[in-house]
Structure formats: structure tokens, C-alpha cells
């Protein structure tokens, strides 16, 4: 199981400014290890964000996203106390979901 994501959601009016840091190697399948063997591809393919259980943001990405990916996006219609969850899935079928409560921090 992968390490937890770091999610920060701050409200600006009714728009939640979301930043997320995921812990993932994002191997491209182009890199060789010290022994000269190609390191197999291992990267996040899909990302979904839900606000109180309803999908609000979706992404399909490739191995060109940097290691330990950072994404930011803005969700409309958010209030303090709303639950924002983010899920990613990689090409090996690994998944991780983490949740934050908007406005609880800061």
C-alpha cells in the first residue's frame, strides 16, 4: 500500500482550492537501473476527486507526470465541513483514497 496523500483544501468563497501531493515513483519504462535493466513502467493512470461522495474532478494521466505527483484544481460549490476525497489508481491496479474536511485546517 502506498503512502498517504497530502491534501490541502482551502476555501475562497464557495470554490475550494485543492492541492494534492501523491507518493508514487511514476516510472516511465524508459529508465535503466544500475544493472542496465529497464525499470518497468509503474505510474498513476486515473485520479478522481469527490465532494461529499459526488465526483467533481476526473483525470487520466500518463507516465510523463513527475515523480511524487502534485496536482491542483478548484472545486465549485464547496462549504466548510464538506468532505473531499481523492482516489488514484495505477497501472498495476494499486489504489489509494484519502479524505480531508474542507476548512478544518487553518
Amino acid at each position: 500500500m502506498a503512502d498517504p496523500m497530502k491534501i490541502r483544501a482551502t476555501l475562497q468563497g464557495d470554490v475550494a482550492d485543492v492541492r494534492v501531493l501523491m507518493a508514487h515513483p511514476m516510472e516511465t519504462g524508459q529508465r535503466k537501473d544500475a544493472a542496465g535493466k529497464i525499470v518497468p513502467m509503474h505510474f498513476i493512470q486515473t485520479i478522481t476527486a469527490q465532494l461529499n461522495g459526488k465526483t467533481v474532478f476526473n483525470a487520466d494521466v500518463s507516465q510523463a507526470v513527475s515523480r511524487n505527483p502534485v496536482f491542483a484544481f478548484k472545486v465549485k460549490g464547496a462549504k466548510p465541513g464538506d468532505k473531499l476525497s481523492i482516489t488514484w489508481q495505477d497501472n498495476k491496479g494499486d489504489k489509494r483514497t484519502d479524505e480531508v474536511v474542507i476548512g478544518a485546517a487553518s
Binding site: V56, F57, N58, D60, A64, F71, F73, K74, K76
Partner: protein, 155 residues
């Protein structure tokens, strides 16, 4: 004689392809469009990837703002901010033209997100970063050149 053989082979391939498409459709109804677009992600040129996504006819637009460094010292982590001012924007797609596989991703903002996204990407060599925005069934495009310093002397 060779021609006939070719035609026959092609026919077999076509039947096989159709059969597998049908099988995939039966096994996962409704997932066909939502699934990760493997063929577009594996396309080796931007235009091929765009064709597979059905966005090759995108017209240029000044309403898409791409914020990325003009010169990136570290090609492994290049921050990009994209904002679309086109009304009714539903998705934002990113292509890095000179990467081995240019199609980098699509961000769907149609279900309650603002048409904005920030991401960090790997760029192998200096290349235009191309952004295609889908809005109201049409496609719009903008590009920004990012130079990557080679040799790692940037420190």
C-alpha cells in the same frame, strides 16, 4: 497472388478486431468511454494521439492560458498551470510534443470543477506544450514552448 493473401489476412484481422471490441463492450457496458485511452497514451506523435482522442481539428484560441517556465532547468519536474476562459469548458488535455509519448493527460472539469489545473510533468527535451480544451462539443488549442537545459549545469 500476394495481394490476395494480404486481403485475406486483413479480413481476418478486421474480424478479430471487431470481435474483441464487441467482447469488451459486452463485458463492461458503459465503461467503454470512461476507460483510460490506452491507444492515445501509446501514440508516438501528438497528431496521432489527437486523432485517437478525436480532437485533431482543434482551432487556435487565445482564451487558454498556459503558465510554464520559458526555460526549465530540471526537465524531470516542470510545473504547468492551465486556465481556460472559454465558456462551457468540459476538459483540458495536455500534450508534450517531443516526449516519447506526447499525450500526458486529460482533466475532466465538467462535473463541478473550475476550468483550471496545475500539474508537474517530465519533459525530455525542449518542446512545445500543447493544450486542447473541449467546450460545447468543440475543441480549442494553445501552445507554449518550454526549453529544457541539457547537461545539468543549471545548478
Amino acid at each position: 497472388m500476394h495481394d490476395t493473401r494480404r486481403t485475406v489476412l486483413k479480413g481476418i484481422w478486421a474480424i478479430g478486431a471487431l470481435a474483441s471490441v464487441a467482447a469488451a463492450g459486452l463485458l463492461s457496458p458503459g465503461r467503454a468511454f470512461a476507460a483510460w485511452n490506452k491507444s492515445a497514451f501509446e501514440a508516438k506523435s501528438t497528431i496521432d494521439a489527437m486523432k485517437m482522442l478525436g480532437v485533431a481539428n482543434a482551432e487556435d484560441s487565445k482564451a487558454i492560458e498556459i503558465r510554464a517556465p520559458d526555460i526549465a532547468e530540471n526537465g524531470a519536474v516542470v510545473p504547468i498551470d492551465i486556465t481556460s476562459a472559454i465558456p462551457g469548458t468540459t476538459s483540458i488535455s495536455v500534450f508534450i510534443e517531443k516526449n516519447p509519448f506526447p499525450y500526458t493527460g486529460t482533466f475532466d472539469v465538467s462535473q463541478g470543477a473550475v476550468p483550471y489545473v496545475h500539474l508537474r510533468v517530465k519533459i525530455g527535451e525542449s518542446s512545445p506544450v500543447r493544450v486542447v480544451v473541449a467546450a460545447g462539443g468543440k475543441h480549442y488549442m494553445a501552445a507554449k514552448e518550454v526549453k529544457v537545459t541539457i547537461g545539468g549545469c543549471g545548478g
